[in-house]
Symmetry: D2
């Protein structure tokens, strides 16, 4: 394992291929730092006594101690620990810990490559295990690049007018493949060591060129990262952790990227595109049963705090709203527990989360995001939207008025009241807050994607048999 300083030093050495605000920028550009800080936290936590046992584990390849964010889950207990680690870590960064997506891609590739090998006699699994060893040894972070830009939503990949609207292989060479296309919404790509590309959906045989998976350094020739950041308003006077962390999302452009064969994990085996796409989504949705409860925890805590400061903590309607928030968090978390407990062992050694529970959990989280903001806004009143800027709390001409008139309960200092509402401003009235809500709906698959997954995997026939038996249509 490496330190966060080593991680950042590696970022600095990478080739410049991040574009933002019309310029080519360094990976530690001030606008990108809030995202880098999130990832850094995952390198610091192994040194934190509260986290050490949770965030470190043993590699099944080497027996060495590794960061759990590089681990292949091989038991229900692994999944339970991963879920718990994510929830706890997200508390410290005020939201998405960002490193799980690479880990989830690794977990999906671990069992899917074996399935492909069994069907095609290929050697992807062995190849992947070698990459995994390298990944764990170097304590890498990876962005999972899954979501294609997709062009016309009513056409399949090969039917698009521009064939590049889904990532595809344009050339196979002796030493590797050449890939073209773009993936969008790729979180932390500008802070990742590697990019792991997986298919976005099931593919038909005629779309075999689109059934492609691989891993490459994020600064490879042939990759451009056009990056959007969502950061909180920087603090000048009243510092707070919430204002240290942010998100960077990239359009990842594969401009005839060359990938050597040793990093190619699927290439043309179209019947397995679905398994890999869904396998990644499954592990990722299980990760969401850790991070989404954390996000709800933060809303719950902020709601309880502002209710306390307003002196309304004991009102029945407040109790009811806090109970609702905690119910959302714990139902989603319970779904993750059930997904682990009801998961299954794969012959690769992977332990695969139960699909139904991972999906109902992620769906429930996604369906409650905006309602959670509504509850927080409801309990807070208008101040998150109208709170004077921090400099006015420092300006002697206005400070005495603001400190006098912001008072609520006498035993809470004006500074704490201000800090509380400034947290709420960052959560409710900032570009980062808005982006987090959108990501809470769509990240890892929006509720409608979970409904499709549930429709495909839930045993509705069993329920129909129950109904038919009760109706007298058939026996049971």
């Amino acid at each position: 394992m490496i330190s966060s300083q080593e991680y950042v030093a590696k970022l600095r050495k990478m080739r410049k291929n991040v574009y933002m605000n019309g310029e080519l920028v360094e990976r530690d550009d001030p606008e990108l730092l809030p995202s880098v800080r999130v990832l850094s936290k995952t390198f610091d936590l192994p040194g934190d006594p509260r986290f050490k046992d949770l965030i470190t584990t043993t590699s099944h390849l080497t027996g060495e101690t590794i960061n759990r964010f590089t681990n292949v889950n091989r038991s229900a207990d692994d999944l339970l620990k991963k879920q718990k680690m994510i929830r706890k870590a997200c508390h410290l960064t005020g939201g998405c810990i960002q490193r799980c997506m690479g880990c989830d891609a690794v977990n999906a590739l671990h069992f899917v490559t074996l399935e492909v090998d069994k069907a095609y006699g290929t050697e992807y699994h062995k190849r992947f295990l070698k990459y995994l060893g390298y990944f764990q040894k170097n304590d890498l972070t990876a962005a999972a690049a899954q979501t294609d830009v997709k062009g016309n939503r009513s056409l399949r990949p090969g039917e698009q007018k521009d064939p590049d609207l889904y990532v595809h292989v344009v050339e196979k060479r002796n030493d590797g493949i050449v890939v073209r296309g773009a993936k969008n919404h790729i979180t932390m790509a500008s802070a990742a060591n590697d990019i792991i590309c997986v298919p976005t959906r099931a593919m038909r045989e005629e779309d075999a060129d689109y059934a492609v998976a691989f891993a490459v350094p994020a600064d490879s020739e042939g990759i451009k990262l056009i990056t959007h950041v969502s950061n909180p308003r920087p603090r000048k006077v009243y510092k707070a952790p919430i204002a240290d962390f942010g998100v960077a999302d990239s359009f990842v452009i594969f401009d005839d990227l060359f990938v050597p064969w040793e990093r190619v994990f699927m290439c043309g085996e179209s019947p397995f595109a679905a398994l890999l796409a869904h396998g990644f989504a499954l592990y990722h949705r299980h990760s969401y049963t850790g991070c989404k409860p954390a996000v709800t925890d933060i809303v719950t805590g902020a709601s309880a705090l502002v209710a306390e400061y307003q002196g309304i903590a004991d009102k029945p309607h407040v109790r009811s709203k806090l109970a609702h928030l905690s119910s959302v968090a714990e139902l989603v978390y319970a779904a993750g527990i059930a997904s682990a407990v009801e998961g299954q062992q794969h012959e690769s050694g992977s332990f695969i989360p139960n699909t139904v529970y991972a999906n109902v959990g992620r769906r429930h989280a996604g369906m409650n995001i905006y309602h959670e903001s509504e509850i927080l806004a409801d309990l807070a009143g208008g101040l998150p939207a109208t709170l004077p800027f921090e400099e006015d709390f420092a300006n002697p001409e206005t400070k005495r008025f603001l400190e006098k008139y912001i008072m609520r309960k006498e035993d809470v200092s004006p500074d704490n009241i201000q800090l509380c509402f400034r947290l709420l401003s960052d959560m409710l009235c900032s570009s980062l807050g808005g982006s987090s809500a959108v990501a809470g709906v769509h990240g890892g698959g929006s509720p409608i994607m979970e409904e499709i997954a549930i429709a495909a995997t839930y045993d509705f026939d069993e329920k129909k048999r129950v109904a038919k038996y009760l109706a007298g249509i058939e026996g049971t």
Copy 2:
């Protein structure tokens, strides 16, 4: 274990103390039979190969095989099996299996009596174990009588104008106690062998006479059961299991009931009334994480079936609604799993479900009941409300018209269409259907009771600490 025939034979021998429709009736009165049939199912299932392993277990007292409905849960696995058994059994009776409440009362008494003994030096636990042996050996069913009639809701028990509005001890004698009061909404009391009385709420010291728990035969002198039944419309032509089962709820009157000391399990230890009240509620809410998913399963199955028969099963809005139904079922079930996995061992040997998960699960179920009916009604159209009576489907003068005009998809027979919609009529447009919805909200504690339980037990302070850390108010 006994057979259902033996169970019914015992009911017939009991003293007549059931009042209904202005008359004193037998326990196997035709109006009561639908409820008796539900209980009978729990005696038949041990003989069903599909259920044998689930519904039988080993008594930790005697090592003998017993019905799981008389078992004391001593591990997470016990709770998981109980939950699964309830879900499966409810599928067969079209709803509430009715026998869990007595089992849940037994489970609460098992650990609470030990706690009381430790505090007061009493011998309730030993006394209870003796009763438990008798309960298991005779394969008894019991109604848990918890909900007092409560009079003026803004007054505590001892403050009521009429002191009998909560059940209380009116005399202590050498050989036992005399009890007066009434419990209402007591499901299956008229089909129970015994009645187990537990407090409805926390009690203050001045209300010590109201801190009372005991078990007695349901036909004891001093008990009157004034009973309301909710039964489906009886079928004459088109028989169906859904129409075989019903519910009987009683006002249980304790008219100076004498209880011998050997059946008294709490008598005046007011500080422990809360533990027993909540302990019973906790086990019972965990049971709800089994039965409520079953009820939702039935709605899901009926919804999927009617959608199939209408030819709309593949519409996106139908898929979305079915996904919602299955999500409700599985989130509640997942909460039960998490409640077991995160439960704790008690020194009595009891395994106690996790409170937060049991409560968020029960709450989620209760909050979705009416919405589930709405979805079913939405997919069904108006026919559940307007379907001609079954006799008209048999009357030659109308039969040919109804069979001609009820047709939907060609490959579904008019009989099956009719049976499907008649099931829906029973679910949506019957007194039993309406009563089940009300019970779904309030039985075992309505959502507001779970919110109170969550408010009392959830670690909101931890969440506030997270918020304070992020806000910069305090470190972490």
Copy 3:
């Protein structure tokens, strides 16, 4: 105008063609009386000083005083008065007043027949006006038979395997037409003087035989009414208006019914089937903005009453729930007002409600039905489901216990508490209650039908222009 006695006398004289429970029954069969009583109320109200000005108006044909339920709306004020009349009348029957559907059919035919005449040179309007005069003079009630049985939902009328699954003309003769098919869910058909048949949907040219509208006596040769009733449990001891009224819905079978030309109002003019189908739906949905608020009023009143009796009327969560109920009622009512105010004059003299407002109002009502029941159940507790039968309140052996233990607030008599909860039982836990909920979703068109109507008529393009202007895509 005639008296309710005259109305019932006329029903008695009609040919027997109502089938129920496997038998051919009289129109005043005890099971049908609860529905007859609802209609009778509309004949009594002109004699009630509180209603006289609201329920009587002047015929524009004859200048004579008529019942507003036979009136053609010719101004916004007419629509406002109709809406108010319906709301007030429904209060007295505990729900649907049942007579508006015939009135709404008459209103639709009034302007559509003129449109057809203009396009085809036919004389339907003149013919219709003659019928209207007869309808008003004889103070008739009519069932509007619109909803075809529809067979396979994915096939159009002419595509069905059985061509009779939509009502159609099978023969045109010199003196009239012969019609075959069935309409279902036809409320009050067994209590109606006439049946007015209108198309259920738009028709293509090849389905011209299905574009048919006419009016006939309900006991015509060739008509069979197979009838389902939803009645409250009859009261023996504790009488109450809620238990007097019920609903009868019929499968209306047209078994080669002959209709003389003078009663045919559309016959083959397929392009106008949509206008008539939607025109009837529009007037009917406007009527729903009167009746649905009334139903919500009853839920609101019952909720407020049971909250008062329980002593919880001043709790914030109760206030919030009552505010929600009243909001549903008043938003729906406001939509009806807006629909009238924003309606338009037709050259026939008809005043046509605004489509968008009628539809958003009806939709909002339909989407809240089950939630209203949920609120009532929530405030009531379990007693609506478990209240002992009225005979037990009369039986001396149980009366004293029930009266003692049902007490809540001291100033409310046990009789009133019982009557209140018995009302709630009838509303929440009866076949009528369940049927009313289903009817509340689907009657007059379910929310999805309103969404289709909104999609077809709302000016989304104007909203898109606003968005494009703000986005800088195009000017404004």
Copy 4:
């Protein structure tokens, strides 16, 4: 009437008393301009032929043509026109038109001053009419300062430890009064000519000093405006109206402000504080039935547009969501229509909106704000959160990739796609978007305030009488 240039020129001449970001700033500071531009629009519209008839009217004082934003509503038609004007104007500024609050304060003072005069023999009404003439003649904008900072929410004004936590009179002099305290969340105070102060709530006799109302220039000695702005990210390349407009909200500090008697409209008449507080809220909530539908229109238009661009406009779930959005807009608008139609004439000449309809309308709007954002986010996918910045669309190194890969339907240009999603970014993922949502909940009174107003004014007793009649408890 004056031009927007004259309006801005007047702002520039005002005394500097606006504080922001720790500095004393001009009223046309670049950060404040987006708010000034909103107000300017109200001065431009009288010259726009589409608006002229709507936004101009005739003063009942002078007979001169005035801007409707300075008009006293004297008929239902006045209210209907005001509502329509606001809806149309908000379309042009992408949200709150900001000028109605001063108009609503003027409307409330118009009838309340007469009521106070009648009770106390004062001359407030005459005094107010003089101010009104000046207000209309000079085409003034005013901020209504109502919301006190309120300190400890569980204490009344006079009970606070610091008596200044509600605005109050600290001295009465011959020439006027001296006022101290602060109002917060005061929108457009920094862009207003005048500030009109009204009480925030009912006052008891002992709080008579807090029953105070007055109007003063916004730059008076003794006033400080500490201002927070919520502006969209400024556009450099791709200009759009949405990015031109913003909101400025102020803490308005009354630091011993002197108010001459001629501008004092209430001073100590505590029984009328409630009438003025509620009267202003009533007119303001009626205004919300104009602006909130406009905000929903914009969400509807943006949703419809992005659905079109994504090629999913004809999907049933999209239709359903668009129907829901339009239903929210039109139900709220219908409530405003009903509030006007059912309003009442006051002897002052004022026409007062119906309270119930204004409140159910405002409540429905407030309860749907976050859900509207959720729908928009749902239909848009993740791009509002991850769209590269506009400069990257201009940078030649990235432009070709972004234009290639952002394509959706072939007939929509990449620029239009980009502009559409940039609009969505501004709506969903900006501080202004977040602030608008918070304001949508709380501005003009949050839903809980409307529930309190409904509880106080709705005729629940009438509904209880209906329930009692139906239950058989009492006749009707």
